[in-house]
Symmetry: D2
Subunit: 344 residues, 4 copies
Amino acid sequence: MIRAGIVGGTGYTGVELLRLLLPHPEVEVQVITSRAEAGERVDAHFPNLRGVCDLSYTAPDPLVLTQLDVVFFATPHGVAMDSAPELLAQDVRVIDLGADFRLANPEVFAQWYGMAHRAPDVLREARYGLPEYYREIIAQSRLIANPGCYPTAVILGLAPLLEAGLLQQETLVADCKSGVSGAGRTGKVHLIVPEAADSVNAYGVSGHRHRPEIEAILSEISGNNIELQFTPHLMPMIRGIHATLYGRLRQPMSDANLQAVFAERYAQEPFVDVMPFGSHPATRSVRGANVCRIAVHQPRPGQVVVLSVIDNLVKGAAGQAVQNMNRLFALPETTGLTQIALLP
Amino acid sequence: MIRAGIVGGTGYTGVELLRLLLPHPEVEVQVITSRAEAGERVDAHFPNLRGVCDLSYTAPDPLVLTQLDVVFFATPHGVAMDSAPELLAQDVRVIDLGADFRLANPEVFAQWYGMAHRAPDVLREARYGLPEYYREIIAQSRLIANPGCYPTAVILGLAPLLEAGLLQQETLVADCKSGVSGAGRTGKVHLIVPEAADSVNAYGVSGHRHRPEIEAILSEISGNNIELQFTPHLMPMIRGIHATLYGRLRQPMSDANLQAVFAERYAQEPFVDVMPFGSHPATRSVRGANVCRIAVHQPRPGQVVVLSVIDNLVKGAAGQAVQNMNRLFALPETTGLTQIALLP
Amino acid sequence: MIRAGIVGGTGYTGVELLRLLLPHPEVEVQVITSRAEAGERVDAHFPNLRGVCDLSYTAPDPLVLTQLDVVFFATPHGVAMDSAPELLAQDVRVIDLGADFRLANPEVFAQWYGMAHRAPDVLREARYGLPEYYREIIAQSRLIANPGCYPTAVILGLAPLLEAGLLQQETLVADCKSGVSGAGRTGKVHLIVPEAADSVNAYGVSGHRHRPEIEAILSEISGNNIELQFTPHLMPMIRGIHATLYGRLRQPMSDANLQAVFAERYAQEPFVDVMPFGSHPATRSVRGANVCRIAVHQPRPGQVVVLSVIDNLVKGAAGQAVQNMNRLFALPETTGLTQIALLP
Amino acid sequence: MIRAGIVGGTGYTGVELLRLLLPHPEVEVQVITSRAEAGERVDAHFPNLRGVCDLSYTAPDPLVLTQLDVVFFATPHGVAMDSAPELLAQDVRVIDLGADFRLANPEVFAQWYGMAHRAPDVLREARYGLPEYYREIIAQSRLIANPGCYPTAVILGLAPLLEAGLLQQETLVADCKSGVSGAGRTGKVHLIVPEAADSVNAYGVSGHRHRPEIEAILSEISGNNIELQFTPHLMPMIRGIHATLYGRLRQPMSDANLQAVFAERYAQEPFVDVMPFGSHPATRSVRGANVCRIAVHQPRPGQVVVLSVIDNLVKGAAGQAVQNMNRLFALPETTGLTQIALLP
């Protein structure tokens, strides 16, 4: 059994990790930390876990964490970078669901996150945990930067076309819609029901931290310098990301060939579902499941629209983290990740 | 492997049965029927099942259904009663998620459902599929009347007190709140988002079909003639039932003793969670899970309030049906029913 | 023109007062206070007011407030009691939308609000601002305790029966459902969309501050000592209260006579709508309007169910406050309160 | 008083017209038609109108309609075109909230709406009812094609830039999000709460009827042949449209100059609110109000993002229709349209 720990267990990605890891056949969660709630039972905070989880929160303790096989960080940026070096030194695998290791360039990190990177050495060792594009390199890694939720949806939707050099680079737009859980389990006024229900608004239009992440990875995958306009929106729903991706083809291309690019790229992927050409995936079709569903459109010759949906807490966070853990420990990638989406 | 069929596979209870039965280790769903959609793939209608379900709908065919071990009816009332006799004659177990066999008295059925019962003989053989109260009798049965969603929540919440003769009978009130999926997957104007979202209303205040079901079962369990005021409400949410149950004690009783009534009654029940005295369970704590969470209050001496929450599609329908199937086939009752509720 | 001020202008009742008072033909809002936002424009916080409101927040200043004709307090309890004496001394009318003056007995106030009452003298002068029952006394008052949202819905629904002595007192139940705006504009975790949307839960079952208020007023109106079980629930919606009220008749009574009790009691009331017997009012039918819609049922002989719906921010708060203001200044009671509910 | 009639009074635009016209100081609604509900009171279907509307539905009768001053058609396409000629012949003004007269070219209409246009002569006389761009021509017209909801939001957001020739034409994207009321008051399965709440999906990506309307009007305003990619999305909310509009500047331009284009263009417009540069308008800020709020961003030099929000039933339908009516009858354009948005 893999001995696992979760640092930062009172947020939505933390509790979602528990939902996936508790029934995972090869994992035992031994530690879940929270400074604020140390000593309290986890299921007192998350009653959905009553009867299936006997854990209580503890304060994070290096002596304890270094006894584990893997530690997940479900923390705000700045936390994982301070603990990862010691854990790695003790040969503990680290999967960071936060942002500390997503941007390979520490200066870019500093620019977007407003703090110097305090572990640039281990940052060099980190691998971007998007298995569909970095599967082999993940297996050989010890430190995984679990992708952001928006980047997962956007990269999976655009990379097949950019990899193949099919799109004009200057016309890319990623218009993204997210459920409110993407903002975290935090008592901010703009997230309460009377503010965020029955309303839609964009935010961070002039610059959002996920844009440099998306651009860096798409540039790496495509071998070109990719820039795109990324616009996140807050949706009146709990879970789900819908990315609507716009590009223009360099050359004319039939609908069938366009579809084939995606169908072939993801033919062997257990967690990417390429829907029939012209489909309209709904976020609810992936609620609770570790799946990205993708559909391609060509409304006018040369104009491509890709629709990509994920559950931000699963394929966009905890599920992908478990997928990465499975890779790190040479388990079949789908182990413990076969939940069917909850519909309705 | 248990060979299973689902009659009426385009509604919410049908697709929820698939969500639970497809990964069930002892079941193979061989048939799912729909006259209207015969020939179409199930996952074209329910994209959450893409990749995990290769079934297509067929028209219901007795020759096929009688080859199965068990048939679930997820149909409007009036359907199961016409097919059950032939299936039972061929030794196929029948679990009806509709209302045809819930009311033991065919005249009461006729009164509330507006049609004569067309299979009064097999009705006599039907057993009410609430395992917490009829576990042994279910195991010996061939025909299960799966309880209604409201009755499940109300009976589990009130029966311990009535069984023990603790409540004044004339003061019982069951104020129930249901998500919209309880009304079925049907294109009615009053269920669309602009009508049913961001609003609450009662319905059927003067009489709802679940009232005679509740009263008959509670009378049977308690050995007294129970009448209660049952008021259902439509909530602006998808899944979930919250039953707020009011009664008055015959004799003064401490909070601790009151709690003990529930704690002891359900101590061995895998799917009933008695929360600490004075808790406030939320429906989201059971979303997608086969659990009923119950909490007891005594706001003033003698005044008891019981809060009982379920997912109407799981413990209130498909999950309970699988629980009953497990009983019928002598499997551990929890087989295939260990999903953790999706929160948030 | 009535010169009006609003103390506590960043909450939902404050901004709702503005929505109603800005177009009111006899009022000019001259002051709106907020210590935290002093100096900022109101419409920067509430963009629905862009173009119709040039006010900026100021810190509350007695020298300014005492120049006004009326001051509304849209503040947490404890604020109005400290300012009211000085304002009244300067002959400024005071309407408190908070709880400071709702409970005539300062000891009961202390018990439920956890603080001693600091203005027991002016408390004696306060009048409960439910015009349907205290119209005349309001007109002669200087200090109005605007009723709580739940009490408004419950009292309007039960008082006609209790006034007429028709109900058994020991069987009263008020099962109430409220939209999240009733909890105020405050960044609490349990109010954010991922927590409070798509879920229902009860709260304060063992005791809620609105219960003593309801009981005191119903006792006063009926001339009897009324106790009831009051259970509030949080609904996944923004505005609206739905009160489901249960009682038992002392004597048999026809449906028509029961309906007549309400029809006659409220025949002249501009803001109480008695619907046809057996109706099911929805909260959305009063969204944004200063109306209470009421419907009566008698599901079984002797069992009465009254359904009463209001918008918690209008008839349950700001609208009723304006109605009281109209009384205080001898204006027609409907002045400025004729908004039609927003449906859908 | 203007004698007004509404044809098609059971849909959301019909009842929204009533909400706006009933308190309109210069209008008397004398007729509201519905074949299906003829003889029934309007407020039996729309209880928000109880107490303010004594009308009953009638079957549409040319003898009655031709006695009026203005008739609003709140009907599916194909209805207004059959009645408008006779009404115009009797000098009755016609405002069609449907699609019959929005596309000047009858062949384009036939292509997108699947039916030949049956009144091409009066089509020639129709004027597009977007007052911000066609104010003078509307005043002289007798037949108004009230714009579609999406076109209103998109055109108001893009036209200032296109009018001024500032955008590259080939890179325009309009990513639009709509509340469910935009789909009408119709009992379709995909609109019920369990399907459309807590989920987001695109629809009509490959072609939607509002695209040719947007393109024709933007082409007319700009004097160029405008094509854009238009993607509508269904949002889990009741009212509101959020248009996120993307374009690239032909020439570099400062943020201040970009803002000035909008500020100057709409300086005198009572119903267009240009927010500070870089704002993020939310749909709830216009709920129930006849306003379009617009904000401009330039995330990278040359990349323009315009955010434009309306209430689809007000500025996107009934409110704009009343605005047009005010023009037709030489009333101040804001008459009866000063409702403040309902927030929260």
